[in-house]
C-alpha cells in the first residue's frame, strides 16, 4: 500500500474461506480505498504499460481501417466461397464476450447474488467495449462503410426501406439496442459512485467532471427508492435482451442453408457459448486487475471460484451443442450435413476442430477441481484457453462450413490476410485502451453496492 490509504488488511487475519469481502472494512475505509483508485492514488506502473500497449494497437487498428477504406474490402481474405471470414467471426467473438457483463449485472442482480457487487461494474464496461469492437467489423465488412447508414430505416430519396425479414437487419436492431441499453445500465449504475467521487475530489477539473456526470445525486431516500426500482426493471429488461442478442446473431447463420449453419440448436448453443466466453474474459481481466490494484479484499477467491464454476457449467452446455451438431448431421441422413461434420473432423481444417474440442470440452474439465479453481495462475491459463477456444469455434462454424458447401467445384480455402490479423489485433488494442482509460477515471468497483454488503450496513430491527 504505497499510496497511504488506510489498509485494514495489515492488522487483520486473512480473508476467511468463501467470503466475498475481506473483514475489517467500514463505510469510511471502503469508500476511501475504492474512490482513491480514480482520484488520488499514484497510477501503478502496470497501468502505463497496459495503456501504452492498448494505444499502440489502437494505432494499428486505425491504420488498418484507413487501408480498408482507401483500398477496399478486398484486403480481407474473403472471396467466393468463403464470403464471411475473420470479420464476421471476430464480430461474433466480441459480441459473445460482452454477454458475461450483462449476465453479471442483470441476471445475477435478479437472482440476488451479492458476490456480483464487486465485479459488475468492470464487467459492464467490458460489455460496452467489446460491443464497440464487434460493431466495427460488420460496418467495415459492408465494403462501403460511408454508406452504413443505409442499414437504418429512414426516409430517403431512393424510396427504399430495409427488408425486415432479413436476419441481417434484425442484427442491426439487436446489436444497436444492446449497445444502447448496456450503456444506459452502466451509466445509471455509476451515478451514486460519481457523486462519491464528486464529493471526494480535490482537483477542480475532477469536481467539475464528476459533478456534471453525477447530475446532482444527493442520496435522498426518495431517490434511492426510484433508483432501486429502475435498476431492477433495467435488469429485468436486459435479461431477455442479452438472450435475444446472441440468438439473433445465431439466426444470421441458422436462417441460411449452408450445412453446418442450418440448425435449430444454434440459438441456445450460441447464448451458452457467449456466456462461456464472457466469463473467461472477465477472469482474464479480473485476475491481473486485482493484483495490480491490490483488490484481493474485494475480488476474493470466492469470486474467482464462482466464475470458474459458471465457466465449467457453460462449457458443458457448449459441449452438448457440439454433440448435437454431430448427432443431427448423422441422424438427418442428409449427405451434405454428414459430409460437413466429416469435413470438420478430417478435412483441411481438422486441426482447428480438434483444437476447439480440446479448448472448450476437454480442458475446462479441470475446473471440477477446487484446487484448480482457487489456483490463480492455473485459472488465468484456463481463461486464455477458453478465449482461444471460442475464437476457434466461430472459425470452424463460419469458415469451415463455407469452404466446402454443396458442389465440390465451388470449394475453396480461406486464410486470413495480414489485414485480417491487424484488424483483429487492433480491436484487441482498442478494447485494452478503453478499459485502461475506464479504470483510470471511473470507479471500476461499484462503491455503493459494496457498502450495502458491509456488516454494518444492516439496520438492526430490534432497536430501530
Amino acid at each position: 500500500m504505497a499510496d497511504g490509504t488506510p489498509n485494514p488488511a495489515a492488522e487483520k487475519p486473512a480473508t476467511p474461506h468463501g467470503a466475498i469481502l475481506a473483514p475489517g472494512y467500514s463505510f469510511t475505509t471502503l469508500t476511501d480505498k475504492l474512490a482513491s483508485i480514480a482520484l488520488s492514488r499514484r497510477t501503478p506502473r502496470a497501468w502505463f504499460f497496459g495503456a501504452a500497449v492498448g494505444f499502440l494497437l489502437t494505432m494499428v487498428l486505425l491504420g488498418t481501417i484507413t487501408a480498408i477504406v482507401f483500398r477496399g474490402v478486398g484486403l480481407f481474405g474473403v472471396n467466393v466461397p468463403v464470403g464471411w471470414g475473420f470479420d464476421i467471426l471476430n464480430f461474433v467473438w466480441w459480441i459473445g464476450i460482452g454477454h458475461a457483463g450483462t449476465l453479471i449485472s442483470a441476471i445475477l442482480l435478479l437472482l440476488r447474488q451479492p458476490w456480483r457487487n464487486s465485479i459488475n461494474r468492470f464487467a459492464e464496461a467490458m460489455t460496452i467495449f467489446a460491443v464497440s469492437c464487434a460493431g466495427l467489423y460488420p460496418l467495415l465488412h459492408t465494403g462501403r462503410p460511408w454508406m452504413d447508414y443505409w442499414l437504418l430505416p429512414y426516409p430517403n430519396s431512393m424510396g427504399m426501406w430495409p427488408n425486415f425479414r432479413s436476419p441481417l437487419v434484425w442484427d442491426v436492431f439487436a446489436v444497436s439496442t444492446y449497445a444502447t441499453v448496456s450503456l444506459l445500465f452502466w451509466y445509471v449504475g455509476m451515478i451514486p459512485d460519481l457523486a462519491t467521487l464528486r464529493d471526494r475530489a480535490k482537483k477542480l477539473w475532477a469536481k467539475l467532471l464528476y459533478g456534471m456526470l453525477a447530475m446532482g445525486w444527493r442520496g435522498s431516500a426518495r431517490h434511492w427508492q426510484r433508483y432501486e426500482t429502475a435498476s431492477l426493471l433495467l435488469a429485468g429488461l436486459a435479461t431477455p435482451l442479452v438472450i435475444s442478442v446472441h440468438t439473433v446473431v445465431s439466426f444470421d447463420f441458422a436462417a441460411g442453408i449452408v450445412p453446418g449453419w442450418h440448425a435449430t440448436i444454434f440459438p441456445p448453443y450460441f447464448v451458452a457459448g457467449a456466456i462461456y466466453a464472457g466469463f473467461a474474459m472477465v477472469l482474464t481481466l479480473a485476475i491481473p486487475l486485482r493484483k495490480i490494484y491490490g483488490l484481493e479484499d474485494f475480488i476474493t477467491l470466492k469470486h474467482l471460484d464462482n466464475m470458474a464454476k459458471i465457466t465449467l457449467a457453460t462449457s458443458l452446455i457448449v459441449a452438448y451443442g457440439y454433440g448435437v451438431e454431430a448427432f443431427m448431421a448423422y441422424y438427418s441422413g442428409n449427405v451434405y450435413e454428414r459430409y460437413m461434420i466429416w469435413n470438420r473432423m478430417n478435412g483441411p481444417y481438422h486441426y482447428m476442430y480438434w483444437a476447439l474440442i480440446f479448448c472448450n470440452v476437454i480442458a475446462p474439465q479441470v475446473l471440477w477441481f477446487r484446487k484448480v479453481r482457487r489456483n490463480i495462475p492455473a485459472l488465468f491459463c484456463m481463461a486464455m484457453i477458453v478465449n482461444v477456444g471460442m475464437w476457434l469455434e466461430r472459425y470452424v462454424i463460419i469458415v469451415v462450413s463455407l469452404s466446402r458447401d454443396f458442389l465440390p467445384s465451388s470449394w475453396g480455402m480461406y486464410h486470413g490476410t495480414r489485414f485480417d490479423w491487424s484488424m483483429f489485433l487492433g480491436t484487441i488494442g482498442l478494447f485494452i485502451a478503453l478499459l485502461f482509460l475506464f479504470i483510470r477515471v471511473l470507479p471500476m468497483i461499484s462503491i455503493f453496492e459494496m457498502r450495502a454488503i458491509l456488516p454494518e450496513a444492516k439496520v438492526r430491527e430490534e432497536e430501530a
Binding site: 463505510f27 469510511t28 469508500t31 430505416p153 427504399m160 426501406w161 430495409p162 427488408n163 425486415f164 425479414r165 436476419p167 437487419v169 434484425w170 436492431f173 439487436a174 439496442t177 444502447t180 441499453v181 444506459l184 451509466y187 445509471v188 451514486p192 462519491t196 464528486r198 464529493d199 471526494r200 447530475m215 446532482g216 444527493r218 442520496g219 435522498s220 431516500a221 426518495r222 431517490h223 434511492w224 427508492q225 426510484r226 433508483y227 432501486e228 426500482t229 429502475a230 426493471l233 433495467l234 429488461l237 436486459a238 431477455p240 435482451l241 435475444s244 439473433v248 439466426f251 455503493f448 453496492e449 450495502a452 454494518e456 444492516k458 439496520v459 438492526r460 430491527e461 432497536e463 430501530a464
Partner: protein, 177 residues
C-alpha cells in the same frame, strides 16, 4: 444565521440510528422531511412511508409504445410504403417482424426506466440547498442525514432543533437556502 433556511439537518453515524430518527420524526408529525444515505436502505423507505409506483407504470408505457412503434415500422415499410416480394413471403411477415418489435420494446422501456427515474427524481439538478450543509459531502461516504424542511407546517427553528438533538445525532446544523 445569514439567510433564509431550507431546513435543519441532523447527522447520524449508522443506518439504524437514521431509520430510528426518521420514524420518530414521522411519529412527531413532521411531513416534509427526507433522509440521505450512502447506499439504499429498504427500512428507510418504509420509515418515510414512500409509496411511489409511478416508475413501473412509466416503464410499462415505454415498453408498449416501443412494441407498437417497432411493429408499425416493420408493417408500414414492408406492406404500405415498399412492398417487396422476397421469396414469396407475405408482405406482413409477422414472425419475422417479432425480432425488431422485441428490440424496440426493450429499447423504449429501458429509456423510459432511465429517463423516468431521472425525471421523477428531478435530476439533473445542479443546485440543491442540502449541499450547503457543511458536512453533507459525507452523505456519499459514511454518514447518514435526516433533514426536516422549513416548509413543514410543524417546523419551528428552535423546537425542531431541540427535537432533533433529542434523537442522539452527532451534530445538528442549519441548511441555508
Amino acid at each position: 444565521m445569514s439567510g433564509p433556511i431550507y431546513g435543519l439537518m441532523a447527522e447520524f453515524e449508522d443506518p439504524t440510528a437514521l431509520v430510528e430518527a426518521t420514524r420518530r420524526a414521522r411519529e412527531e408529525g413532521f411531513t416534509k422531511l427526507d433522509a440521505y444515505s450512502p447506499y439504499p436502505i429498504e427500512a428507510l423507505t418504509e420509515a418515510l412511508d414512500i409509496h411511489d409506483r409511478k416508475l413501473p407504470a412509466v416503464v410499462l408505457g415505454g415498453g408498449i409504445l416501443g412494441g407498437r412503434a417497432g411493429f408499425a415500422l416493420c408493417y408500414w415499410c414492408s406492406v404500405i410504403e415498399y412492398p417487396l416480394n422476397v421469396g414469396g413471403k407475405p408482405f406482413n411477415s409477422v414472425p419475422a417482424f417479432i425480432v425488431p418489435t422485441f428490440e424496440t420494446t426493450i429499447l423504449f422501456a429501458a429509456f423510459a426506466a432511465v429517463l423516468g427515474m431521472l425525471g421523477l427524481n428531478g435530476l439533473p439538478m445542479p443546485y440543491h440547498p442540502v449541499f450547503n450543509a457543511p458536512r453533507f459531502a459525507l452523505a456519499s461516504r459514511d454518514r447518514f442525514f435526516l433533514c426536516i424542511e422549513a416548509k413543514d407546517p410543524k417546523f419551528d427553528h428552535d423546537d425542531t432543533w431541540a427535537f432533533l438533538t433529542k434523537l442522539g445525532p452527532r451534530v445538528v446544523m442549519d441548511v441555508e437556502e
